[in-house]
């Protein structure tokens, strides 16, 4: 019970800080803060997925379910709160930035960006969040299942990372050629 309270507390902070950043970016005039919030949160999200899908995969492979269970529980602020939050905040900030800069249009290039963003959000809310909820709601008697859910989260993060690598190439294209 105490652990769940800790998770909710740490998780709330993981959501509130990026949300405040977005509100500041949207509320303040100009593009500097909005650009900063978009780039910083996107960078953190990409690094998070790189860690979860790449380094973390190596860390938990070969570990027993006992340790994976505790890791899965302690990672909940990230998997249940931070990733779903930035999955929405980053594209919203990016869209607002493109509109504010006057470069947004419904052409093929931005359609691809919108589709990739939608897929990233779907991955977060259909695969990462439900598995994180499962880990949150189950205790030590479900160690084996929790361990499998952690694997699924790690694999989903690696898929997100691939999509983000493609997305960053499109962002770099905008910066260089727009």
């Amino acid at each position: 019970m105490k652990h769940n309270a800790d998770v909710l507390k740490a998780g709330s902070i993981s959501v509130v800080i990026p949300a405040i950043g977005l509100l500041m970016g949207l509320g303040l005039p100009g593009i500097l803060i909005l650009d900063y919030v978009h780039v910083l949160l996107a960078a953190i999200w990409t690094g998070t997925d790189a860690f979860l899908g790449f380094i973390f995969y190596i860390v938990i492979s070969g570990m027993d379910d006992d340790i994976r269970y505790y890791i899965g529980k302690r990672l909940l602020p990230m998997t249940m709160f931070f990733i779903p939050a930035v999955s929405v905040i980053v594209p919203v900030a990016g869209y607002a930035l493109a509109v504010r800069e006057g470069i947004f249009s419904m052409d093929l290039f931005f359609m691809v960006i919108l589709i990739l963003s939608a897929v990233l959000i779907i991955l977060s809310y259909v695969l990462i969040l439900p598995n994180a909820f499962f880990i949150y709601g189950h205790d030590e008697s479900s160690k084996g299942l929790i361990s499998r859910k952690l694997w699924l989260i790690s694999i989903t993060a690696s898929v997100q990372l691939v999509l983000q690598i493609i997305m960053i190439s499109l962002m770099a294209y905008i910066v260089v050629f727009s």
Binding site: H3, A10, G30, I31, L32, D35, Y36, V39, L40, A42, A43, I44, W45, T46, G47, T48, D49, A50, F51, L52, I55, I58, V59, I60, G62, M63, D64, D66, I67, Y70, I71, K73, R74, L75, P77, M78, F82, Q164, I165, I168, S169, M171, A172, Y173, V175, V176, F177
Partner: protein, 199 residues
């Protein structure tokens, strides 16, 4: 918290799959691939690819530091020393090779990008960016890397000193969080370079 029996032989409890060869096999590609990619980009000198590489490498570096310093430190705090040591044994060979590599290529690509953009090295924004980059580099090479090497050496010698492994690993996780603070500052300067708006 742990159900791992401490009556088991210590080396078995920790990780019997760790070896110099296995960590090299895993770590060397992480050490070599980023600089090789950067070298190829610099040889062909394509501005778009250089920009892409700098942003991608910088994103991975910043995000990983935040995960390590914030979320992973939170994970480690909830574990006992044997569990922490086992995780360190997995994490250290990877981080030892990957983090210096990704940090070095991000900074190098950034310097080349600044030269391509003809940003004067005497501008106050550029001086601030170079100072922060230098601090990050010194932290990485002067503190992070030696600590990782000490942990790595300890693991290679049987990981008998758990306290040392855990202490140095936890210190490096805290250092990662400090690096994030500097990275947040440098990204603000990058936002200035990207938008042209004064801070």
């Amino acid at each position: 918290m742990s159900n791992i029996s401490t009556a088991e032989p210590f080396s078995m409890v920790l990780d019997d799959r760790f070896s110099l060869w296995s960590s090299m096999k895993r770590g060397l590609p992480m050490l070599l691939i980023p600089p090789i990619l950067l070298l190829i980009i610099l040889i062909f000198r394509n501005f778009y690819t250089l920009e892409y590489f700098h942003v991608l490498a910088g994103s991975i570096w910043t995000g990983m530091d935040l995960v390590l310093g914030l979320f992973f430190a939170y994970v480690m705090k909830g574990l006992n020393n044997i569990q922490r040591t086992r995780i360190s044994m997995r994490l250290t060979p990877t981080m030892l090779f990957f983090m210096p590599s990704i940090a070095a290529v991000t900074i190098t690509a950034g310097v080349y990008l600044a030269m391509d953009l003809s940003i004067p090295f005497s501008s106050s924004y550029m001086i601030a960016a170079l100072i922060i980059a230098a601090v990050l580099f010194i932290q990485g090479i002067g503190i992070f890397l030696p600590n990782e090497l000490r942990v790595y050496d300890e693991i290679l010698h049987g990981a008998k000193n758990q306290e040392k492994i855990v202490r140095l690993t936890m210190f490096n996780l805290k250092l990662s969080l400090l690096q994030v603070v500097f990275q947040m500052a440098i990204i603000m300067l990058m936002a200035h370079f990207a938008t042209g708006v004064s801070i």
